[in-house]
């Protein structure tokens, strides 16, 4: 999934839940990484801006299961990006638990991009608890066939704190995914937006819960929750729960959730321009996922696209992936080379 040669900058490597100091690269001004002896508890502390930190979780199930406790602390005014890659090829049942915690002080910004692509035997369970006075942006992309459970609690603690959570699920095979996002507005003028998109193929099952809580002291809170899902598989199933609990009258909340198919009008438009039916479908699917890819696209430090997402999309669309993609991705060439 990852070509390590492409990584320049600090790198944290976890192999089957254990921090590997050898494989990691932690020398960096403004960055302090502390790991306990058994390598399961790691604290990352940033006192200065670091452009990007890479974090790899390799889950091959070769060593005994052990939970990771990962804490990331950003001092006031510090910005960084964390690029997390969760991958693994375990060939027998294996569970990995990640307990993570972020502390984002005032004026600081943490952009966390998580890419998850695991084989069907891996069960990935993450529990996050985040204390935000500045800004936390979290992007999670779930591909693959595994069982993924993610629970995340974000507390917006200071005035003007912000939290943006974007998720994309491309469910294949027998995969199961559960995402529970809870965001608590505990201070005035705080903002959260949650965007979730899911494409469900085959027998994939998914559940998304987005919960925004606005406490009575959180005047001026802004909440946006949008979830859109498309079912392509005959036996796919999706649960969506966009929830709000509001205890304050100075709020602007919007939420929406849809389940549907590709827009027939748009398909017709594309076909009447000569695109083949499956091309039109691919293009619209791509358009569908765009909104939750903005964070990734905004990052300068994202590793080059390895076409994993495209392959997953093609698989979900039930079309022979390769031929589609060669054609389909010509658009990218245009974008990068000529313009």
């Amino acid at each position: 999934m990852i070509n390590l040669d492409q990584i320049t900058g600090p790198l944290l490597v976890f192999i089957d839940g254990q921090f590997s100091l050898e494989a990691s690269q932690t020398e960096c001004i403004g960055l302090e990484v502390k790991a306990d002896n058994d390598g399961h508890t790691v604290v990352v502390h940033l006192s200065q801006d670091v452009p990007a930190i890479y974090c790899l979780h390799q889950c091959d199930g070769l060593s005994p299961e052990a939970p990771i406790a990962l804490t990331v602390k950003l001092d006031a005014g510090v910005s960084t990006e964390i690029h997390e890659y969760v991958f693994g090829e375990a060939n027998q049942a294996y569970q990995q638990t990640l307990q993570w915690r972020c502390e984002v002080a005032q004026g600081s910004h943490l952009l966390w991009l998580s890419h998850q692509n695991l084989s069907e035997h891996v069960r990935w369970h993450s529990q996050g608890e985040h204390y935000v006075e500045g800004q936390l942006s979290y992007h999670v992309e779930t591909l693959g066939q595994s069982l993924i459970e993610a629970e995340m609690l974000v507390k917006l603690l200071a005035e003007n704190a912000e939290c943006h959570v974007h998720g994309l699920l491309v469910g294949q095979g027998q995969s199961k995914s559960r995402q529970d996002w809870r965001i608590e507005h505990l201070a005035p003028n705080t903002t959260c937006d949650m965007h979730y998109r899911a494409l469900m193929g085959n027998n994939a099952q998914g559940s998304w819960l987005g919960h925004a809580h606005v406490a009575d002291q959180a005047k001026g809170a802004k909440v946006t929750q949008m979830s859109r899902q498309m079912l392509f598989g005959k036996h796919a199933r999706m649960h969506a729960k966009p929830e709000l609990t509001i205890h304050c009258d100075e709020v602007a909340c919007q939420h929406g959730a849809t389940v549907g198919q590709l827009d027939e009008q748009a398909l017709f438009y594309l076909r009447s321009r000569g695109l083949l039916h499956w091309q039109a479908r691919m293009l619209l699917t791509w358009s569908f996922v765009q909104e939750v890819l903005v964070m990734r696209q905004a990052s300068k430090h994202c590793l080059p696209e390895d076409s994993m997402l495209q392959q997953s999309l093609a698989a979900v669309m039930d079309h022979d992936g390769t031929s589609v993609l060669n054609d389909f991705w010509q658009g990218k060439e245009v974008k990068h080379d000529e313009w």
Binding site: L231, I246, G256, A257, V259, G260, Q261
Partner: protein
């Protein structure tokens, strides 16, 4: 803002207008619940054995259950042994044959409530069944309905006159095992309304039931069953009030609707039970299970509710869309003021092909009120072509209230289209200012804006009740601006 606050205060101190107690002799069962209570109620009503057995099954099952905790409600523990499960006005011992035999005090009560029981007053063309505490006291327009073949009577009467229909349909939409309160109701239900619309009949008038809890420490457990045969239509409305009492009173009703091929049932509720006082003392606990089954092809069930009363409302009128091309609708206005708590919404279960459902929910929170929308839209794998549209909006008035939204979309069919939209806002200063600038008083402006907010629901009510609902809302909200 001081005048506004004063206005809120004034409003909040406003008295519940239906809070009088009617002083009639009543036969009231002493508090307590046991198998004997169930047997006593059944015997009192001279019920056939199948019904007694059904009640007993329900009671035995109920003993294994505990109260549901999942709702967004704070409920003081209810002592189910402290409630009386049956209260009947004396004159009911020998059921009145006509209105003349009804205790004049009762009639007076209904006059106070603005419910025209006398047929001369019922020019609006509404047939009324009135349930006072546990028993149905009078049904109007019986003859005219009988001409059309429509059966509209109290549930007890239906048990005597049409036991085969009761046997065939009772518990088929809400089984006695359904949930804690429905199970309790199945064991101890006292009375309620029964409606049967024969094949091809369009019911010639609106049918209406008014419920009133009068006796102290009394629970009201009515049960309503409406059956619409193929190609029939009925519009049914229920209204509810209760006197002011310091202690909480329990209301646990069950409503079952069955719509067969191409039949349509429109069920509207204007609920104005006593909400308790500004400190949350007293008021009705309203735990209601309402469900309709669109059993026939192209059948339609439409729920409309305006919920302004009760200390606690726990209610999810739902539709099971079994027939192909069937349609389910839910239109709701729920207001929580004072210390009221409402957890209400709907379930739309899509089983048949090309089934459609629409949900429009408007929640208004004021005072210390807590208002939650809870909904589920489920599309099962065989429900090809299912469509749902949901809109649930919340309006907050004042800073001590809460508005909550808990929708659940469960999609398991690859060509379902489900859309859910929601918004939460308060009455904007801009809107208010605009009205004030045009010379409209603040109270009127708020009432205008709130009514506008609820319009799409009020439009679903039969005309005369839409007016009533609008007034009810105005009374409940005058001056409540934060």
């Amino acid at each position: 803002m001081t005048t506004q606050n004063q206005a809120i205060e004034d409003h909040l101190n406003q008295r519940y207008q239906h809070g009088f107690v009617t002083d009639v002799d009543a036969d009231t069962l002493p508090p307590g619940l046991s198998e004997n209570t169930v047997r006593w109620i059944s015997a009192q009503k001279n019920e056939p054995d199948f019904l007694l057995q059904w009640r007993l099954q329900a009671f035995r099952h109920w003993q294994t259950l505990s109260e549901p905790q999942w709702a967004h409600l704070h409920i003081d523990p209810i002592d189910f042994q402290a409630i009386s499960y049956y209260s009947s006005p004396h004159s009911k011992k020998d059921a009145p044959k006509s209105l003349d035999e009804v205790d004049p005090k009762l009639l007076e009560t209904y006059e106070k409530l603005g419910i025209p029981l006398h047929e001369r007053a019922a020019l609006a063309g509404v047939a009324v069944d009135a349930v006072f505490d546990s028993v149905s006291v009078a049904t109007t327009f019986k003859d005219k309905l009988a001409e059309a073949g429509v059966i509209f009577c109290s549930f007890s009467e239906a048990v005597q006159q049409h036991p085969e229909l009761i046997k065939q349909y009772l518990g088929t939409v809400v089984p006695y095992r359904d949930n804690f309160y429905a199970t309790l109701n199945s064991a101890v239900f006292s009375d309620g309304s029964f409606v049967y619309i024969p094949k091809g009949v369009r019911c010639p008038m609106e049918l209406s039931t008014y419920f009133r809890i009068n006796a102290a420490n009394t629970g009201q457990f009515e049960r309503t069953l409406i059956i619409a045969e193929p190609d029939s239509y009925v519009s049914y409305l229920e209204g509810c009030t209760a006197p002011m009492r310091d202690e909480n009173q329990l209301h646990a009703a069950v409503v079952e609707l069955v719509a067969l091929d191409r039949a349509e049932i429109k069920y509207s509720t204007v609920q104005n039970w006593y909400p308790g006082d500004e400190n949350g003392k007293g008021g009705i606990y309203n735990f209601v299970t309402k469900r309709g089954a669109c059993r026939g092809q192209a059948s339609k069930i439409s729920w409309t509710q305006v919920e302004t009363g009760s200390a606690i409302t726990w209610k999810y009128p739902s539709v099971v869309l079994q027939g192909d091309d069937s349609v389910g609708e839910f239109y709701s206005v729920a207001l929580s003021n004072l210390c009221q708590q409402a957890d209400t919404g709907t379930k739309m279960i899509h089983l048949g092909k090309n089934t459609k459902s629409t949900i429009i929910s408007k929640g208004i929170s004021a005072g210390k009120g807590q208002n939650a929308y809870r909904g589920m839209v489920r599309v099962t794998p065989k429900a090809k072509g299912a469509r749902n549209f949901t809109q649930c909006d919340s309006l907050l008035i004042g800073s001590s209230c809460g508005a909550h939204t808990f929708p659940h979309i469960d999609a398991a069919c690859d060509d379902a289209i489900i859309e859910h939209e929601a918004s939460t806002a308060k009455i904007s200063e801009d809107q208010l200012f605009y009205c004030l600038q045009r010379g409209i008083s603040e109270e009127n402006a708020v009432s205008m804006i709130v009514n506008g907010f609820c319009r799409s629901v009020f439009q679903q009510l039969p005309m005369e009740f839409a007016v009533e609902a609008q007034k009810l809302l105005e009374v409940s909200l005058e001056g409540a601006v934060g």
